[in-house]
């Protein structure tokens, strides 16, 4: 995937994924488009691959691949990040631009939003400057129809000089038409005359000076008019990518250099500096889009967005914006906790029943004790714990979160919270990457690519693990339920849990902001940069698809990953508990060694060791704690929360331990996957180390302060 290609520095140039063709004659097609145009949904319906889509900017964080075929042609489809422009402001735009220019694709499909065609045409026009092998796919035709917006597709096609297809990504039928056009474009050999923007005469003049020289020198498949414009524009990041593609420095060629100097001279004689040139180029694009739409798009209702505005009035107004946001978060947690209770108990009953069956089977074949211990008491038991504790909350939380994503609410969260991020010296888009962190911190870190300024991107990367990822939620929920809600009776109990969990989340957000501020006045000094945020139309999420998708894509994926880590960890723990050095087990040696430090932080050696062993995946921290306590004497088989609580209190847990553990769970080193992702995204060991140390030190300090104060009062 995009992550593995070699990149340079913070502004990672990513020429896209390594593409595996299934056959020699298979064609590579890039799927480009603005964010939120249903690009990934279309990708899924074309390829049948389940790839996650979301209704917020920059959801496709790394390019995804899929295969499809139509009428004898077969394609590799590459879903590239959604961008508004190819003039590279952010790392994502660079990825998109580099793939369209240098990715070796045979055609590009540009997906547009029918309800907002004019804005989308900017990207279309920029792409058409690069390649004529393009199909414009105007998606969300159904939404447009609802809003009484009518588009004359043939007229748009006539103007652009490339096929234009109207689709409804949620309906599979419309995809056939798209594939037909794609076949047509790919098999077309002669050059077709596509739309060209006529820029101001002095720009055209400069292009006329430069282009012939380039035609002599560059034999690669690059549109030279486009290249001339970019060289005149002095687009440094593009030149860098171009040189990498060509294998030499284009400006080292004397003739090109001479022609470029000459072309620039004519511009400066006309009084055109670099800034003015850029203005002219961008304005040219915007005006061309406006011209095309004026003649092809008809709005029958002037207030076609009135419904969105009404919803926004409620969700982002001064009076109700924040309360609704917090209530919504609380509701999601409440539903997760309440609904997870029962299946969780059923699952653990079933899994521990199976453990007894396994034990019986081992006995029946008179397997050696160590084998039974290692496999059943070690591997199986930890696995069972991970599944029983994690699966139910995840299977409920993920779909709920996905519903929020799909409806278009998350950009509103960024809208509401921007002031706080600005005050912390960072970017409102960090609110989005923070939200992605709730799912998985590694995904959140990759998501940071949507942030333009390298400084703000680093801040968002380093602070991403301050929000609990899905691997940490179940532990937090379990501890809250065990220690802090026993005083309430049932319906209020889970409500109270939800309130507490929301407080933990708010603390996480608060820490994200504080540490961002701290970073922005110390190692990452600077002022917040500009920030534009699109608020897409609300869309009714498709509940059925959301359910299937979030369970299969996310829940099972995360669970699988956790299980893969939990199984060997279970083995390690069991061995540590059974290998003795002197007269105590290795496990007790280790936890004993860590114990003084653990106690200083309000926990104990076992918990601290569990966090360390949980480095590959946070999901297994609580199971390790339980295993360790059980291995060191206690014989209870805790198959529900109250017995689990007894096990913990027997081992010295108090409310101080519980809170310290929750605090440390919220603030400690990111898991190994996240650390690796940070390393790949930042290309720097220094920032990776910082991303590791900042939350760790914060957690240690805060736990120490909390434990010290709490002991005074108890």
């Amino acid at each position: 995937m995009g992550l593995t290609s070699d990149s340079t520095g913070i502004k990672a140039i990513d020429c896209g994924p390594v593409i595996k063709k299934r056959a020699e004659d298979e064609k590579i097609v890039a799927l480009a488009g603005n964010p939120n145009v249903g690009k990934s949904t279309l990708f899924n319906s074309l390829t049948g691959m389940k790839q996650h889509t979301g209704n917020w900017p920059g959801k496709t964080v790394a390019s995804a691949l899929g295969y499809c075929g139509y009428a004898g042609m077969s394609y590799v489809l590459v879903d590239i990040p959604g961008t508004y422009s190819l003039m590279a402001h952010s790392a994502e735009e660079e990825v998109a631009r580099d793939f369209i220019c240098f990715g070796g694709n045979d055609a590009v499909v540009i997906v547009c939003d029918a309800t907002c065609l004019e804005r989308n045409l900017n990207l279309v026009l920029q792409t058409l400057e690069i390649t004529e092998k393009a199909v414009v796919c105007i998606n969300l035709m159904d939404e447009a129809k609802k809003k009484k917006i009518f588009i004359d597709l043939d007229a748009v096609s006539e103007k652009l000089g490339v096929p234009v297809v109207g689709t409804t990504a949620r309906k599979k039928k419309s995809a056939d038409k798209l594939m037909e056009s794609l076949n047509e474009v790919i098999s077309l050999n002669e050059k077709k005359d596509r739309f060209h923007i006529r820029y101001a005469e002095y720009i055209e003049n400069a292009v006329r000076i430069l282009q012939p020289t380039l035609e002599d020198k560059i034999k690669e498949r690059i549109d030279l008019r486009w290249l001339s414009l970019r060289l005149l524009d002095n687009d440094l990041s593009l030149t860098e990518a171009l040189n990498k593609f060509l294998g030499y420095d284009i400006l080292s060629d004397e003739d090109i250099n001479k022609a470029l100097t000459e072309a620039r001279r004519t511009l400066s004689e006309a009084g055109i500096g670099t800034d003015k040139l850029r203005d002219e180029i961008v304005s040219g694009l915007v005006r061309a889009a406006e011209d095309i739409c004026r003649e092809t798009v008809r709005f029958e209702k002037t207030d076609y967005n009135s419904k969105d505005r009404k919803i926004d009035m409620i969700l982002t107004s001064r009076l109700t914006g924040f309360p609704i946001m917090i209530l919504l978060v609380m509701f999601v947690f409440w539903l997760t906790i309440t609904a997870a209770n029962y299946p969780s108990r059923l699952l653990s009953d079933a899994l521990f029943w199976l453990q007894d069956v396994l034990t019986g089977a081992f006995r029946a074949v008179s397997a050696p004790d160590w084998l039974h211990g290692a496999l059943v008491l070690g591997v199986y038991r930890v696995l069972a714990w991970v599944v029983a504790v994690m699966l139910p909350p995840m299977a409920i939380f993920f779909p709920l979160f996905t519903l929020l994503e799909d409806s278009g609410y998350l950009p509103r969260v960024a809208f509401n919270l921007d002031k706080y991020f600005k005050k912390s010296g960072s970017c409102g888009k960090q609110a989005l990457t923070m939200c992605m962190g709730f799912g998985c911190n590694a995904a959140g870190v990759i998501g940071c690519r949507i942030i333009d300024s390298p400084r703000e991107r680093l801040i968002a990367t380093i602070t991403n693990s301050f929000v609990p990822c899905n691997g940490r939620f179940p532990a937090l929920i379990a501890i809250i339920t065990m220690f802090f809600t026993g005083v309430f009776i049932m319906p209020f109990q889970s409500l109270f849990s939800a309130v507490l969990l929301t407080c933990v989340i708010i603390l996480g957000v608060f820490m994200t902001l504080s540490i961002s501020k701290l970073l922005s006045v110390t190692v990452l000094k600077g002022l917040p940069s500009s920030f534009t945020l699109e608020l897409p139309s609300y869309r009714k999420p498709q509940i059925g698809r959301v359910l299937v998708r979030s369970i299969f894509d996310r829940t099972l994926f995360v669970l699988g990953r956790a299980a893969m880590v939990a199984a060997p960890a279970g083995l390690v723990i069991w061995m540590m508990a059974n290998i003795t050095i002197g007269d105590t087990t290795l496990l007790l040696h280790c936890s004993g060694f860590l114990d003084p430090f653990g106690r200083l932080l309000g926990m104990d050696g076992v918990i601290l060791m569990a966090f360390i062993l949980g480095f590959p995946a946070n999901e297994i921290v609580i199971p390790i704690v339980i295993m360790t306590y059980m291995a060191s004497g206690s014989i209870t088989e805790p198959d529900n929360l109250s017995e689990l609580k007894r096990l913990l209190t027997d081992n010295g847990w108090t409310w101080i331990t519980a809170i310290s553990t929750m605090l440390f769970s919220l603030m400690h080193w990111p898991c190994s996957t996240t650390c690796l992702t940070v390393r790949k995204e930042t290309q720097s060991l220094k920032w990776t180390a910082l991303a590791f140390l900042v939350p760790t030190l914060t957690g240690i300090i805060i736990c120490f302060i909390f434990a010290s104060i709490a002991r005074l009062f108890s």
Binding site: R119, D275, V286, R309, D418, S529, S530, T532, L533, L535
Partner: protein, 78 residues
Amino acid sequence: MNNIYSYTLKDLKKGQSAKVSSLTSTGSIRRRLLDIGLIEGTEVECLQKSPDGNMVAYLIRGAVIALRPEDSATVSVV
């Protein structure tokens, strides 16, 4: 006269519309603003303020885009 020149997007009240006359910013902010379609003559409507009154959502060429006050203050309108 001074009044006309200092009138920017930031001064628009909810529900008001205006036409962009020029951008006073430079560099990447300018580019971003141009990219979202804020070129001379573009009609912009002020839609909604965020709860804390910081970011403001505008209707720009059919898309709803929120800007920070320090950025919208660089867009002169008439």
